[in-house]
């Protein structure tokens, strides 16, 4: 499609859906079936009373592709609302990561110092290891991981991006 040319941008898209079986598969199938990127994807029920879940997809593409993604998401029958948080104004986006570093001696001390600078929490420790909990932007977590890599980075678990608009605006 002609959307392959032109500048690409990233977009954080919030999708409010009916909390029913198969709805996540519909969203993921749409991305894989039409060849769109998924940088990260999170999903959880947010509203038990009304039976809704919120899916947050971090994606990228040309403006035309992102418009397509939103239009295609809107076509899914159990989708209530699609919001392009990136385009619709300022928003906060956060990721949580659990990071295991296995190290002793000098690297162990360095890892601890860096974790302190990033305000990572230590949620588990042994003589030879730490599990750090770090919350922040995707960039911040990437930077932390880069620093930990030479110090004994052993395992990573990331939540993917959760995002919400700043101020009084809501998408509910």
């Amino acid at each position: 499609m002609s959307g392959e040319t032109g500048l690409t941008r990233s977009a954080t898209i919030a999708v409010l859906v009916e909390n029913e079986a198969g709805v996540l598969a519909r969203v993921i199938g749409l991305f894989s079936g039409r060849g769109y990127n998924i940088d990260s994807l999170t999903v959880a029920a947010i509203d038990e009373d009304r039976g809704r879940s919120r899916i947050t997809v971090a994606t990228r593409g040309t403006e035309q592709v992102i418009e397509q993604i939103k239009a295609q998401l809107n076509r899914i029958v159990p989708v209530h609302r699609v919001a392009d948080l990136t385009a619709e104004g300022p928003h906060v986006a956060r990721e949580l990561a659990l990071i295991k570093v296995v190290a002793t001696g000098e690297p162990r001390g360095q890892a601890l110092q860096i974790a302190d600078a990033f305000r990572a929490k230590i949620v588990d420790t042994t003589i030879e290891s730490f599990v750090f909990e770090l919350t922040g932007s995707t960039d911040k977590i990437d930077a932390f991981l880069d620093l930990m890599r030479p110090l004994g980075l052993a395992e990573i678990s990331r939540s993917g991006v959760a995002a919400i608009a700043r101020g009084t605006r809501t998408i509910i």
Partner: protein
């Protein structure tokens, strides 16, 4: 759609509830094939008379029959198949209906809920498999949801951009008692298709019409789906403004072929005047079409000088392939009415002098007579396939019968689209988006069920017809007088044509070896077989076929070497079309980029 008000009546089984819901939805016919998982439904069908069941010979055909029924009536077609292979066989038909926006509800059997996921006998993950093959699908897990889901499925199938919907029905849900609820009048919780256009966008479109010097209407299947009134409004708009109108394959019949403003089908095998007018227009009004790659040719060279209005009920079609100036999301019929009213109220007609010049230009393009062919007239001459379609058109017209045409897929389909004139909507059933060989015979079956007294003809090729030939048995069982008109060139003609033009004439696997004797085949299925081998037989065979009150296979031997022209070669622009074999030699250069677009 969601509020449930259980009625206080004796409990019925799930299968009985299902039939009651179908009846409330106005269903009169189901196309289906039984099997273990759906036996409770067949038992319930046996014990009632309101809904008729048509037993097909293959589940794919059930869906195509429902499509033919739906497209010729504007109603939802209904399919019933069993679990596992019943459901997987239906998938081709579902994707076909999805691509061509045909409303179908397909009921699939499923193993009982406690066995789901156990690799039970005839189990398949039907909702998983059909998720990308449908507009929406449901697995009924609770008896209490059954009736609501059936009503909702019909609403989803027919509203907005229509499409196929699957309801997967575990056997225990069909056997256990279930409550009945009537269709709710409340809005659906999340699905709310938009049909009313934005007024400001209508005004912009009308301003473009007023300013246009070389406007064109490019009209697709959305206008068919909007109902016959939409086609009637289109006629009025054309008469009011004098704007030339071209149709997509799916849009044929929206404007009568005999209307002087009709400039033929556009696209890969469209007329010279339609494609040149698309290329040269200054304002394009796309009503219910989706800028398909068979229509646009090379996108970078597509109608470079025009301002484009795009009317589509599906917002995801806007700016998908072609970026437009005035998008209008809404029902094609509602939008056409709004445009017509505004044009009339404001007198917003294009400039008369400019339009006269535009029509002179179009008439000059028409002079190329791009659909012409040479049919030798000497006795014993071989029949040109285009001539066969022309004569079929002329002789059916003379018969005065209401005629419905279905097709298979390939050269014969394009010749039918080019040479058979359609005066009304809902008379032309063809597999446009998916291009499903084997569509035409079962679709014709569905049309004939809906229109028992009409003349229903499947224009077929000898290769395509074999893909669902078993449905001759269904024709016999229900005494459906469908006519199968085979343009027999002993080749998968469109494949052969591409191989000739793009692959050095290496006809790899495209020759139809070991064909059956179609007249004997017809007879073995209790139908009438006829054959025309030369021009001398053609009219007689067509007239006999039309007159015959039984199913017919007419095997028409046609010129094997004939290609479909005109043609926009792959990767070329509208103004680079080939008019015939002589001119193709000047344009033998086809790039790899173009080849992949085939």
């Amino acid at each position: 759609m969601n509020a449930v008000t259980p009625s206080a009546e004796l409990p019925l089984s799930g299968a009985q509830i299902l039939l009651r819901a179908l009846k409330e939805q106005g269903v009169e016919v189901i196309f289906g094939y039984p099997g273990g998982a759906v036996l409770p439904i067949y038992d319930a069908i046996f014990q009632q008379n309101a809904i008729r069941h048509i037993l097909v010979r293959h589940e794919q055909a059930a869906v195509h029959a429902a499509e033919g029924y739906a497209r010729s009536t504007g109603r939802v077609g209904v399919v019933l198949v069993t679990s596992g292979p019943g459901a997987t066989n239906a998938v081709t038909g579902l994707v076909d209906a999805l691509m061509d926006s045909i409303p179908v509800v397909c009921l699939t059997g499923q193993v009982p809920t406690h066995l789901i996921g156990n690799d039970a006998f005839q189990e398949a993950d039907t909702v998983g498999i059909t998720r990308p093959a449908t507009k929406h699908n449901y697995l009924v897990k609770k008896s209490g949801d059954l009736a609501r889901i059936v009503h909702e499925a019909f609403y989803v199938a027919r509203s907005g951009r229509p499409g196929p919907v699957v309801i997967d029905l575990p056997k225990d849900i069909l056997i256990n008692p279930a409550p009945y609820v009537e269709a709710s009048r409340e809005a659906h919780r999340s699905y709310r298709p938009r049909t009313e256009p934005d007024r400001a966008q209508i005004d912009k479109a009308v301003a473009l019409i007023r300013s246009a010097k070389r406007p064109i209407l490019y009209v697709g299947g959305g206008v068919i789906n909007a109902g016959p009134e939409a086609s009637a409004t289109l006629r009025e708009l054309v008469a009011e403004t004098g704007i030339p109108c071209t149709n997509t394959l799916m849009g044929l019949g929206t404007l009568p072929a005999s209307d002087p403003h009709f400039i033929g089908m556009l696209g890969m095998h469209g007329t010279y005047e339609a494609n040149m007018a698309m290329h040269g227009c200054d304002v394009m009004l796309n009503i219910g079409a989706r800028f398909d790659d068979r229509v646009t040719g090379r996108l970078s060279a597509f109608s470079p000088g025009s301002r484009k209005v795009h009317v589509d009920i599906d917002a995801s079609n806007i700016n998908k392939n072609v970026v437009v100036d005035v998008p209008i999301v809404g029902d094609a019929g509602v939008v056409l009415r709004a445009l017509l009213d505004a044009v009339r109220a404001e007198g917003a007609r294009p400039d008369r002098t400019a339009m006269a010049a535009w029509w002179r230009q179009i008439d000059a393009w028409r002079e190329k007579r791009s659909l012409d062919f040479v049919q030798p007239r000497e006795p014993g001459s071989i029949i040109k396939p285009q001539h066969a379609v022309r004569r079929l058109y002329e002789l059916t017209q003379q018969s005065g019968r209401d005629t419905f045409i279905t097709t298979e897929v390939g050269q014969h389909q394009m010749w039918a689209a080019q040479h058979f004139g359609f005066e009304r909507p809902n008379r032309w059933m063809t597999s446009g988006g998916l291009g499903t060989m084997g569509y035409g015979l079962p679709a014709a079956m569905g049309v004939q069920i809906a229109h028992p007294d009409a003349l229903v003809i499947d224009i077929a090729g000898e290769a395509s017809i074999l893909m669902n030939i078993q449905e001759m048995g269904t024709l016999a069982q229900y005494r459906l007088p469908v006519k199968v008109f085979i343009l027999n060139n002993q080749y998968m003609g469109m494949v052969r044509q591409w191989q000739e033009l793009l692959h050095g004439g290496r006809y790899s696997e495209s020759y139809s070896q070991s064909l059956p004797d179609f007249t004997k085949l017809a007879e073995s299925f209790h139908a009438v077989g006829m054959r025309a081998t030369t021009i001398d037989d053609l009219d007689r065979v067509i007239l006999e076929m039309i007159k015959c009150d039984r199913a017919v296979i007419a095997d028409i031997a046609v010129d094997q070497g004939e290609n479909v022209y005109p043609m926009i070669p792959s990767g070329a622009a509208h103004n680079e079309m080939l008019l015939g074999p002589d001119k193709s030699r000047n344009n033998a250069e086809v790039t790899n980029a173009g080849m992949v677009l085939v």
